[in-house]
């Protein structure tokens, strides 16, 4: 097969050269954070790593990890390595509960981001002139704008549909004839379902590529999407703390996601011992950014579980491949691509005084889409004899959850003792997607 490359010098680079490139960029990054981020200066001083004399990868292991908690503590701008007048964009995690995590980009960061994604879309066969329907949500979430500028950098036509309004998505798919769609894999299946109801034959559309991410998915889901939409479905990975979508992406061989190693150094650690695992073993993914200016992260713990494969891929690319993520090392839930921590929900509920300490977060899939609801037992404090009052109570909590967390969470009132009591630590989350039962 005749393969084309966006930048063969980088994509086919041999490991030795890549190591040198990474080492050089890593050193520059360490100097950058040492000089510009007090948090990192303190960290590096404490662990005795001198960024000016940094010379081999083993030293990286001496540097403590950066966690989401570190980002929260330094909210909003203390992790930035550039003055605000050099920052042109910020993104952040959702939520008003607690402090969200804020990330920053310089003009050059935005350009690099676009170039990385353009390279990935190119590797999937997309070219200038192809239209790409981008159905990720736009806004502070990195999915929409991240993919968007990658599509434009490729020279393809970005259709910024954003999420929702599925019938319109399908009309656009028919009329604008996009060659590719970007969204979450579950939304792709939902589109297939709605399309079927509308009598659409996806074989007759021009769509040939799907770029899906923001939530974990299996090869079985891939097969289903590919069959129903008549496309090739590829996994793209990223998180805002490291950059956004594009940190890694599959190639046409669908055999692992190539990490953009010219920009990110991956490590896999054992989440309990925090030591690096043997090459190939499953553990938690950790990233160090080596080209970011606005907000580099050093050894950022993603909490995503996967393993790495350093063999050269059939496509010829040398960049290490991560397996599709297989889960989390924390209790974060991913609901339609949005990250939700049970503690965020708890914090809202705890502020409503009538709510008994008995509640349960229930997550499931309905019609291919994730949904999340909170079960609350109706105590006498809540119960008034009017139906309207109960409904108003439900919707007031729903509103509070929405404004704090940014996604719709249904509230279901239940009779007392419906929710199982536990002896030890209360089980607050039932994820029916994993076969759990309330």
């Amino acid at each position: 097969m005749d393969l084309e490359f966006w930048d063969s010098n980088i994509e086919l680079i041999n490991r030795e050269k890549l190591d040198l490139l990474q080492l050089d960029r890593l050193k520059k990054t360490l100097i950058n954070v040492y000089e510009n981020v007090p948090f990192y200066k303190k960290r590096l001083d404490e662990c005795g790593v001198n960024p000016y004399k940094f010379s081999n990868f083993d030293e990286l292991e001496k540097i403590p990890f950066t966690t989401k908690e570190d980002l929260r503590i330094n909210y909003p701008f203390n992790m930035f390595a550039r003055p605000l007048n050099q920052i042109v964009r910020i993104h952040s995690s959702s939520g008003t509960t607690g402090n969200p995590t804020v990330v920053a980009y310089t003009k050059s960061d935005i350009d690099v981001w676009g170039d990385i994604i353009a390279r990935q879309l190119f590797s999937l066969g997309l070219r200038s002139g192809d239209a790409v329907q981008n159905s990720y949500g736009y806004g502070l979430f990195t999915g929409g704008l991240g993919l968007h500028y990658g599509i434009e950098a490729l020279g393809a036509i970005a259709i910024p549909v954003s999420g929702g309004n599925t019938e319109r998505q399908i009309k656009i798919m028919q009329d604008f004839k996009p060659a590719a769609i970007c969204c979450t894999p579950s939304y792709a299946l939902y589109i297939a379902e709605v399309g079927k109801e509308m009598g659409i034959d996806f074989n007759n559309l021009q769509l040939k590529v799907g770029v899906f991410g923001a939530e974990p998915w299996t090869d079985q889901i891939r097969m289903e999407i590919e069959q129903r939409l008549n496309i090739d479905a590829y996994d793209i990975y990223g998180l805002s703390e490291v950059m956004g979508p594009g940190v890694a992406c599959e190639c046409t061989f669908k055999n692992g996601l190539h990490i953009a190693e010219d920009h990110f150094i991956p490590e896999i650690i054992d989440p309990s011992t925090l030591k690096r695992v043997e090459r190939g073993k499953i553990g938690e993914l950790v990233f160090t950014t080596i080209t970011k200016e606005g907000m580099p992260v050093i050894r950022y713990r993603t909490k995503d579980l996967t393993n790495l494969n350093y063999d050269t891929c059939q496509c010829g690319r040398t960049h290490a491949r991560m397996a599709k993520t297989i889960g989390r090392s924390d209790d974060m839930l991913i609901i339609r691509g949005v990250n939700v921590f049970p503690s965020q929900i708890e914090e809202v509920l705890m502020k409503v005084k009538e709510i008994e300490p008995h509640y349960l977060i229930v997550v499931d899939k309905r019609n291919y889409l994730d949904y999340i609801e909170v079960w609350i037992e109706v105590s006498e404090d809540i119960f008034s004899e009017k139906m309207n009052a109960l409904e108003a109570f439900e919707s007031s909590i729903e509103h509070k959850l929405y404004s704090a967390i940014g996604i719709n969470i249904g509230v279901k009132l239940k009779e007392p003792k419906t929710i199982k009591r536990s002896e030890g630590k209360a089980k607050r989350v039932v994820d029916m997607r994993k076969g759990e039962k309330p």
Binding site: V378, E380, F383, M387, L390, L413, K414, E415, P416, K417
Partner: protein
């Protein structure tokens, strides 16, 4: 004087209403009448019983969420025009009814925002307030 109505929160699940009826029977409490809201995921059961406090205790013990509310009870006869008389009286004074139902054949239970006022108005019209 208003009567006491017992209200019960019920999930829309098979057998829940029967459970309430069973508890009342076991406690030897007479059920004079009841109404339910149409259930979605849950609904409200409203009952008038011989001993509301005892009934409430029993239901609470069995894990039900309950509430006691004052409602007006008006005696009517089994003949045409009886309901209209109540409604006309209240409508004339611009009193809106939140809900209304019949108990034990010849009594109508209704809820309004200001019970005392409505009872006075109905009494002045010669309607029989039961308690």
């Amino acid at each position: 004087m208003p009567i006491k109505q017992l209200t019960v929160f019920l999930e829309n699940k098979l057998g829940r209403l029967a459970e309430v009826a069973r508890i009342l029977k076991n406690e030897n409490i007479n059920l004079q009448g009841f109404s339910t809201t149409e259930a979605r995921d849950y609904g409200i059961l409203r009952i008038v019983v011989s001993d509301p406090d005892k009934a409430r205790e029993a239901l609470k013990k069995a894990g039900f969420t309950t509430h006691i509310a004052d409602v007006i009870c008006v005696g009517v006869e089994d003949k045409p025009g009886e309901l209209l008389q109540i409604l006309d009286t209240l409508t004339e004074k611009k009193i809106n009814i939140d809900y209304i139902y019949v108990i034990a054949g010849t009594r109508v239970v209704l809820s309004v925002p200001d019970i005392e006022e409505a009872e006075k108005i109905l009494g002045e019209k010669g309607l029989r307030i039961c308690f």
